[in-house]
Each structure stands twice: as C-alpha cells, then as structure tokens.
Subunit: 372 residues, 2 copies
C-alpha cells in the first residue's frame, strides 16, 4: 500500500503526480456504450471479467448498463466484488484447496456465486464443501475449447464430469465454461473467427451428449474482447465475458479488426509519467518502468507525444527513443498506453478518473493483489 | 491490499495458502553472511538496494550486519524505509517535480538522505527546494558509466554538474552515482568484468577533473549482484549497492560465475503455488501466473519438482510441461523461483518467512507499490 495518492479530486491532470493510473472517463463510458450498441438486437447476456479492473465502481457501472454480473478469477477477487455491492459473480476458474473452498461457500451465502471445475476430485471437494456449509453450489464444467490451459476435453470427458456434478447432492450443474483465451490475440480476424468456430464445435459435441442424457445445460459462457461478436453470433454461447474492452490496451489495439464487426474501442487507460532525465539528444527517460506498466505483452505505447517511442523498461525507468528534432523537457508529463491492461491495473491502488483534463474521482482498485 | 494473508505464524509450509511469497530464512541469512564474507579484508562500504525487498525488516537486518544504509529508487520507498527505522537512505535516482521535492526535503529532516541529479535544471530545483525547507541537501551526480539509461556523460559534463552542485548554496556535493546496470546480466564473467573496467575509466576521467578543481569527491557508489567484487577490487568505488544477492532470482542464476570470485548465493525467494488443474498427461496448471511472478526477465523455474518445467504464464495461470512419466496430483503445492525478484516482490503484501518447514514470521512489504 503506497502512502500517498497521486491526485486529489478537482486537480488538473497536469498537477497529478506520476506515475499514476489514469482512467479517461469519457473514453471509458464510450466503450461501455459501444459494447452494448454492438450487441443490439441479440439476446445474449454480458458478464464482464472483473480481473481486468478489480474495481467494484466499474463493475456496478457495467451492471447498470445491463451486465448480469461479473466474472472473477480468484475467491479473494470475488470477495472484493461482493463487498463492493456486486451480487452475482462467476468464478471463471477452478478453486482448489480446503481454505479457499471454505471462503467460497461463505461467499455463496452472501451473493449468487458459481464456480468452474475440470477434474472429478475437485467436484468431490466442492460437493463436500457445499455439504459442510449446508448449501448448494453452482458448478460449471470448464471445457478446453482450444486454449490448452485449464479445462477438461470436450465430448465424453466433459460430459462425464457434468454428469458427476449433476448427480452430486450438494451441487447444481450450471453449464459450460468455454473461454478460448488463445484466440483473443491472434492478429488476423479470420484466425480468430476460425478459432471460435472450432470452439463452438467442441461445445456442441458436449451439449449433444448432455441433451441425449437429459441433463439441462442452462448456460454456455465465454468470449473475450478479441472475439466476442463471433460467440454472440454463434447461437452456441449465452453469455459473454469481455473484460479489456473498457480499457483497450496496446496488445488488443494491435489486432486486425477489419471485417470482424467488432467496434474500435478507445484507449481509456493510461499511465501518466514524467520525463525525469534527458541524457542524450535521442533519448529521454520516464519515471514509469515495469513496476508501473506491465511489459509481459509488449512495451507501452506513447500516446500523445509524436516522435517518441517507448523502447525499453527496467524496474523504475522507461527509455523513450526520440526522433531527430524531437526534444522533451525535463519534467514534461505524458500518457502511455499499457501493453497489457490487467497486470498493469494490479500495480496500482487507485484509478485516477479524469474528465476533460480534471480529476473527477479516485476509484479504489479494491481487488489489487487478490491472489488467494 | 488483499483481504487475507496466506499464512499464520506457526503453520507448516504445507498449510500455507497459494500463491504466497516465501522467504527461506536459512538461505536468506546465509546470503547476508556470504556477501560479508566475500568482502572480508576490503575497506568498502555496503549500501544494499531496498528496491529489491521494499521491507524495513530486511533493511534493518542488512544494517545490523554492517551495511551503512540502503538505496531506494523513489521518495515513497525512502519514506517507507525511514518510517521502518532506517536512518540513512540514498535515493539512487533523480527526483523530479515540486510535489516530490517537498516530500524529499521533509524526509531529509528525519534521516540522512542523499539524492542523485543528472541535469542542471534539476540541480536548480533541488537547491530551491532545500532553500525553502531551510536545510542542506546531499546531492550526487549520476554519471552514465555505460548503461545508457539516466546519467550525465562522464568527464567534462559530469564535472560541470558537480561544480554547479558544489557552488549551490543549499546543496552539498556528495559524490558520484556510477551504477552500471547494463552489466549485471551480461552472461559471461569476462563481459561483466570488462564493463566495470570501462565504468571505472569513466569515473576516473570525472574524478580527475574534480581533483584538479579542488572539489572533494567523498564517494563513488554503484555495483550490483552481478559485478560487485569487480567494483570492490577497483579502488575506484567506495560503496556497493547490491540488492538481489539476498534472494537470487533465475535471471542472476543464469549468469556464469566462474572465475568471478563472486560466491554462489542461494535461492531464498520462492512463489509457493498449487496445481489447480491436471488437464493432460504432459501438462499441469498452477495458480501462479504473471500477477504472482513477474516474467519480464524470463519464466520462473520449478524448484523442487523434477520433470516439470514452467513454460508459459498468463494473468492467473502458469503452465507446467511435464516429462513423460511425471504426474502431479491436483492440489500438490510446489516452489517456483521468480525470473526477476524485484517486480515479483512488488506483487505481494508480505514475505511469508519460513524456517525448516514452519512459518516463523510475516514481514510486511511496506514499500509495495511505492511509485511516487
């Protein structure tokens, strides 16, 4: 926990100390509306992923515009959301271990909670935890639809696990988690479209077996910002888990969006940084390094300063390469767009919410560091 | 701030929830002693860099073994150290901006503080801030000794800046900051040795001009875990800023240490993680992804589980590739060594300090997220 906030409400952006995580409220609200507009006329639910923002203030705004709830990746993230007023959370991930299962069932008393499973032993553990807590837990089967991370194989293996959940006394089989994470940053529209078509085939193979056995599958949930219109059009998915659309980081901006139908979301998330050293004509150093903007998916992009490129990050420094004739004064502040929004948000205690150059609010990133 | 700590004092390691940041106290104390032993007989000071650990508990243990103080990169990091009882901090970095300079001078009333500068305008700003606060600030010139990040060029430019500081009414010229950060992870001993020889030449060119002008240069400070014995033997450096030696991450372990004289520090820092999915014979998924172990300098290394390799990280998941015949049970816990210690420590609220398999203490990472 840092001792100081970089901003006070009412300050001008120029006065905000650096590094700070800036949320441009106009762009953020535009993105919220744009997602809704892009889904107009479709009967599909939206359940944004809160792992991107970790902020109940944002979750509640998403729900006010029609989202049915949020997704989380960790029990502690879900706790922060429920504490912040969110009443419906899907933990789109497996929860393993006695300590976490106790917290999961405690949370299920306070809000509508669902969780995923991809292993028979985990289903047994969930059933035991639910029995001990005296409640029924909603459990989805996570199916490997092509990302080769978690998830049981589609068809027979996924069907059998669903059957086990269906037959467990203290569990309710709540559908299929079918997120194709590997598709989101395939650069070409056609690659992403083909990956989601393949995912749909894997889901269909599984739901066909469920239908044959008379096991109701109430929900197929998945999708991300890179592909969500393909899932929305598939007639296979019922719920979309888009997260990054509210922020639009560099990695998503590098996708080809032509002929995808997916709208161009605006950059709303920035790291505000100061030129702290001007050691050479072609180089300036900013005070935002990799502890201020995650570089796992590439370097941040300089937003509003032509002729400057962020080429290298160390812990507390970023190196800007300057074109000939470009110079930046010591103390100059500028915006950079994070390479990857999710782990960047996790580095800060607050969003500094700015509208038309003034600080309107500071929203706590309540689930920052919620790893458990 | 996460809501839960993953451990309680007295717990066995097996009971500690995951992901957690584990500090093996025996290995940590061994490393502390090993650094001292490796410098026996040399009249050189040690000022460990606190950006690696951000923890006053660790800083005070370093000082109890003879360190003269610590380095920090940010004013807020220095504040956390002083609040935690550290009475001597070198901010081995430039501090730019009125808000930060006010905090810097306030801190200089409470402890022995020094700061770096590499630009005449910053020296003027430091002088003004010191005058307004009614005190004298200790300022070092940061010299670019080869890393091409911050730092003014050696020789005449550095000399002139030192002269400006020396002639500033409210500043004390406190020496040269000469850290060759680019040398630390050059893999071959000879490359690192040559880089430090080149750095020494750059320092000497500068100190010769200072001597000629009769400006006392009380300290040349620098060095990191990859090179510190070369600086120690140089007769050019007076103070060593080693940080990572206490933890020993994968990136440092990948250096060639033969004929360097630098001892082999032990891994003391681990991320404790659980196998949360066993989706295929050759793949297991752990619950520590890139929000639990920074991947900027490469993947974490599996420590105590033969036949498993950490090959890929996403936000909340790590993919282990399993050799044929190796299988890991769902719920199995294991240690991984972070690729890069500094940004990994910055992801946690506590070190879970373990000795011989039991939790002995939880040390707050007080300067976590201290960006300002």
């Amino acid at each position: 926990m840092s001792y100081y906030t970089p901003a006070q409400i009412g300050m001008s952006l120029a006065e905000v100390d650096t590094p700070a995580l800036i949320l441009d409220l106009d762009a953020f609200e535009y993105n919220l509306k744009l997602l809704n507009d892009s889904l107009a006329g479709r009967s599909i639910k939206v359940r944004p992923h809160a792992k991107s923002h970790k902020c109940p203030e944002i979750a509640l705004r998403q729900m006010a515009l029609g989202a049915v709830g949020v997704c989380c990746q960790k029990v502690s993230e879900a706790e922060a959301m429920v504490d912040g007023g969110v009443n419906d959370v899907l933990i789109a991930n497996e929860v393993v271990g006695v300590a976490k299962l106790k917290r999961l069932t405690a949370l299920a008393r306070r809000a509508k909670i669902a969780v995923c499973a991809d292993h028979p032993d985990n289903v047994t553990a969930l059933d035991n935890a639910a029995r001990e807590a005296g409640l029924t837990l909603n459990v989805l089967v996570e199916v490997n639809v092509g990302a080769n991370r978690c998830g049981i194989e589609p068809g027979e293996p996924a069907f059998k696990l669903a059957q086990q959940i269906y037959n467990s006394k203290n569990l309710h089989f709540a559908g299929l988690q079918a997120y194709q994470g590997g598709a989101q940053h395939m650069r070409k529209t056609e690659e992403r479209r083909a990956a989601i078509e393949a995912a749909c085939e894997k889901v269909n193979r599984t739901t066909a077996l469920l239908a044959l056995a008379g096991i109701p599958c109430e929900r197929v949930t998945g999708a991300g910002t890179g592909t969500y219109l393909f899932e929305a059009a598939s007639k296979v998915y019922h719920e979309l888990q888009t997260g990054s659309y509210i922020f639009m980081d560099v990695d998503y901006a590098n996708n080809d969006w032509t002929e995808s139908g997916i709208p161009r979301f605006e950059h709303s998330l920035f790291v505000w940084t100061t030129v702290m050293s001007c050691p050479a004509a072609d180089r300036a150093i900013v005070d935002a390094g990799l502890k201020a903007s995650s570089i796992d998916s590439g370097m941040p992009r300089v937003f509003d300063t032509p002729g400057a490129e962020y080429i290298k990050a160390s812990d507390e420094h970023g190196v800007l390469k300057l074109d000939a004739g470009v110079s930046l004064a010591l103390g100059h502040k500028l915006k950079i767009v994070p390479g990857h929004c999710d782990p960047t948000v996790n580095l800060y205690d607050h969003f500094v919410c700015v509208r038309k150059g003034a600080v309107e609010a500071l929203w706590p990133i309540a689930a920052r560091g919620s790893l458990l």
